[in-house]
């Protein structure tokens, strides 16, 4: 009987100790879950305060851009205030955030906004307040912003044309359909040149000089999610002889590739796209996408912060910082 008592006593004592330890452990876990410092992303005493105003929700490029900005912020002890634009078509929110950054007396602004008078005015006002501004899209030529960091869209068009010219093995001329993600193009001042126009200019220059490509159509995508898919189907229906479809962002590229698979046109029509993600890699390996243009959003974001930080050290900064566009096909996609 005594041994039963001793075993029970030991078991209960062990239970008390174990439950106390467990209670402390879970209490510590509660504390960790509560810990507000766990969300800390800055050093506590950053040297600069930059406002990042972009729409990164739908676009692979701008997501990479954002990652690059935050990485560079860590590297240069700069706090990045992220102001996402939920409505990509609304320039008002972008303008509001630029103005808020102005009134908040930030050290710098990295912004991606479409051309508009209000936008240009906000940029000018902030610049007048001494705030250094880097833009991801080139706005008016008379802007007071510090620098543009991004791709040379003409060069981007040229490289795209060269990739398209080798994309199809059906012989020349290669019938090309182009889907452009530039929904606001119709709303903006037609007298001003958009980046899509610059890119198309580069593309057509190659088409005209080399005569290997025949541009069947150029379609502009709506902002709805199925826009690229509908446009792809439209091209395939209206131009059944199309050999290559060129898309200018990652989402459009994936959507077009899916339509090719759905229509059982693998091998008949290939996609030349823009941006890289896992699905695009898969399609490249399957031969549905011949190749993609990588605009190096991460490098652009990183460089933007470097330019801003550099502006406080050296007043001279290049007003145009070009980020190289890389090409990836089945030959080198594994290196990415």
């Amino acid at each position: 009987m005594k041994w039963l008592y001793k075993i029970s006593l030991a078991a209960l004592f062990a239970t008390v100790v174990a439950s106390t330890a467990l209670a402390l452990y879970y209490f510590n876990m509660v504390n960790k879950a509560y810990d507000k410092n766990s969300t800390n992303v800055f050093s506590g005493n950053p040297k600069y305060h930059f406002s990042l105003i972009i729409n990164s929700r739908d676009d692979e490029y701008w997501q990479s851009f954002k990652e690059g900005v935050f990485e560079a912020g860590k590297a240069h002890n700069a706090a990045i205030e992220y102001n996402p634009i939920s409505d990509p078509d609304s320039i008002d929110k972008t303008v509001e955030y630029v103005n808020i950054a102005n009134k908040s007396r930030v050290d710098g602004i990295i912004v991606n906004g479409e051309n508009s008078p209000e936008y240009s005015e906000a940029i000018a006002s902030a610049a007048k307040s001494g705030i250094h501004i880097v833009v991801g899209l080139a706005e008016s030529i008379d802007s007071n912003r510090l620098s543009y960091v991004g791709n040379n869209f003409y060069d981007y068009g040229v490289k795209a044309a060269k990739l398209i010219s080798i994309a199809s093995d059906k012989g020349t001329p290669i019938n090309l359909g182009v889907i452009l993600s530039d929904a606001s193009r119709s709303e903006i001042d037609k007298t001003k040149i958009s980046q899509s126009d610059v890119m198309l200019s580069g593309l057509t220059s190659v088409i005209e000089s080399e005569k290997k490509i025949k541009l069947l159509c150029t379609l502009y995508k709506d902002s709805d999610l199925l826009g690229a898919e509908d446009l792809t189907k439209s091209i395939l229906t209206q131009h059944p002889d199309v050999d290559v479809i060129f898309c200018t962002n990652a989402k459009d590229t994936v959507a077009a590739a899916r339509v090719i698979v759905e229509r059982n046109l693998v091998g008949e029509v290939v996609i030349v796209g823009t941006g890289i993600n896992d699905e695009i890699k898969h399609y490249i390996n399957k031969g549905i996408i011949f190749g993609v243009m990588d605009r190096n959003g991460y490098n652009a974001g990183y460089k933007s912060v470097e330019v801003l930080c550099g502006s406080f050290v050296d007043s001279f900064q290049s007003s145009y910082v070009s980020i190289a566009t890389d090409i990836y096909t089945a030959m080198n996609i594994d290196q990415k």
Binding site: S19, L22, F27, V30, K36, S43, G44, A79, S104
Partner: protein, 512 residues
């Protein structure tokens, strides 16, 4: 350390106090532990929403400032201006204290706090400019400044909304993370409470059992003692407390009572033996008296009889009747021997001489119809024996064994000795006796006609009883007999105790 431990646990009172304190401590400690955890978590829960409450107050204050600014600019009301400045001071102070708590820029929210602080500053710059323009009646300017100030309040609201949303998101994330672990924490606390309760129950039960077990044993032992059973096992208590002392005292008491009772028993036995001894003595005396009474019946005026027989002997000698003289002389000797006291001792020789006189008389009376044979170890003739132990046997042989036989018979008297016993044997070749009679003789039962016709008046029962008393042993007689073949009676006298018994007999005679 061991001494301290012994000191603590050598007292029931201390044990009870220690158990009480221990269980109370366990219960209290677990309760305080759980209360501490709960309080800490409640504080965190409160703190989670403190930021939202503070921002809400901040916006209300901003509304008050802006309302008074608007009233002044629209109505030029001096009270509104005074209120504007009053609220501005209050708001500035609150804003300063609110944002001074931000000790560095660590997160997006910290950046928003910083932005709001700068925007508030920008707001007051514009507001002050608007008030100044109003005072100078510069309408375009104060309207432009007021519009800018209002726009900044819009920006502030945008950021406070965003801050609220961020805090809510953070709180939601924190709550989800905490909630999962809170459930587990609750389970762990429940297990802790239950196990502490069970541990207390176990400790109290066991120690109570250990303390009451010796008491129960003592109670059972005492109950047995009350029933007169003192042969119970000792109550064993392994502790060193008062119970052990009580148990040891109880055991010692039980042992003392047991010893006392044992002594009483021993004394009672001794008294009983003494009583038996006295009864035995009385019985011996009774036997002696009985034998003497029998003998006295035969002593009616013995001196007259002896004198008469002596006169007869002398007369026969004078007349030359030698055989008559011898007959009367033998007769006189037998009478003289028989009437002497039975509480004396005689030698075997005396017994044999009497038998021979008896034989002479018998021959004169009955001729040679009966013949006596003697086979006697002469070295044994001087052994002391009680008187009249052989003659009654010879008389029995002559009367009951051979007396009724016309052809006569032989009576053989032998005395011999082996290592331990002297055997006095009287054997006849007469009628013998039945087995039933033989058994009665061995069982020393009286016979109604035991002494009929005996000269001594003493039966075999008397002989046996006297021999037993004289030699203090039970095995004094053997009887062998078969009907028609005769009877052999053997008296057994133990050799080793012979002298001693004789001395005892002397003592016994003195008692009388």
């Amino acid at each position: 350390m061991k001494e301290l431990w012994d000191r603590i646990f050598n007292s029931i009172k201390t044990k009870i106090i220690v158990i009480f304190v221990l269980t109370m401590f366990l219960t209290s400690a677990s309760g305080i532990f759980i209360l501490g955890l709960s309080s800490n978590i409640i504080e965190k829960m409160d703190d989670m929403f403190a930021g939202n409450v503070e921002i809400d107050k901040f916006l209300n204050d901003l509304y008050d400032v802006n309302t008074n600014l608007t009233n002044y600019l629209v109505t030029s009301d001096s009270d509104s201006l005074i209120n504007y400045y009053r609220y501005k001071d209050i708001f500035s102070e609150k804003t300063k204290s609110m944002f001074s708590e931000i000790h560095g820029i660590y997160s997006q929210n910290d950046l928003i706090y910083k932005d709001i602080a700068y925007m508030v500053d920008s707001y007051f710059n514009e507001a002050e400019a608007a008030v100044e323009a109003k005072r100078t009646d510069n309408a375009d300017n104060y309207i432009a400044r007021y519009t800018e100030a209002n726009r900044i309040t819009g920006y502030i609201r945008t950021y406070t909304d965003r801050l609220n949303l961020n805090i809510l998101n953070t709180n939601t994330t924190q709550y989800l993370g905490m909630s999962e672990n809170l459930n587990k924490l609750r389970t762990a606390n429940l297990v802790l409470i239950v196990s502490v309760i069970l541990l207390n129950v176990l400790v109290i039960s066991y120690l109570t059992y250990n303390m009451t077990k010796p008491i129960i044993k003592l109670a059972h032992s005492a109950e047995e003692m009350s029933k007169g059973n003192f042969d119970t096992d000792d109550v064993e208590v392994y502790s060193q407390d008062e119970l052990s002392i009580m148990a040891n005292a109880f055991n010692a008491m039980k042992q003392s009572i047991r010893n006392y009772i044992s002594e009483l028993h021993s004394k009672a036995d001794t008294e009983s033996q003494l009583l038996e001894q006295q009864i035995e003595n009385l019985r011996i005396q009774s036997l002696l008296v009985d034998a003497e009474m029998k003998a006295l019946q035969m002593q009616i005026n013995p001196h007259f009889l002896f004198n008469t027989l002596n006169a007869g002997v002398q007369l026969a000698m004078i007349e030359g009747a030698d055989r008559t003289s011898t007959f009367l002389d033998n007769m006189s000797m037998i009478f003289r021997y028989n009437v002497k006291s039975l509480d004396r001792k005689v030698r075997i020789r005396d017994e044999i001489d009497t038998i021979k006189a008896y034989e002479d008389l018998f021959i004169v009376r009955f001729g040679d119809i009966m013949r006596f044979e003697y086979n006697i170890d002469q070295s044994l003739l001087d052994i002391d024996v009680p008187p009249l132990i052989i003659q009654p046997l010879v008389e029995n042989a002559t009367i009951h064994g051979i007396g009724n036989m016309e052809r006569g018979g032989i009576i053989n008297i032998s005395i011999s000795k082996d290592d331990t016993v002297i055997r006095i044997c009287v054997q006849d070749n007469g009628a013998g006796m039945s087995e039933e009679t033989r058994q009665k003789v061995l069982d020393c039962q009286r016979f109604e006609n035991d002494v009929s016709g005996n000269m001594t008046g003493i039966g075999i029962y008397n002989v046996v009883q006297r021999l037993k008393l004289f030699f203090r042993c039970e095995d004094v007689i053997e009887v062998e007999s078969a009907q028609g073949k005769g009877t052999k009676v053997i008296l057994k006298i133990p050799c080793n105790s012979l002298l001693e018994k004789v001395d005892d007999m002397k003592l016994l005679m003195n008692v009388k």
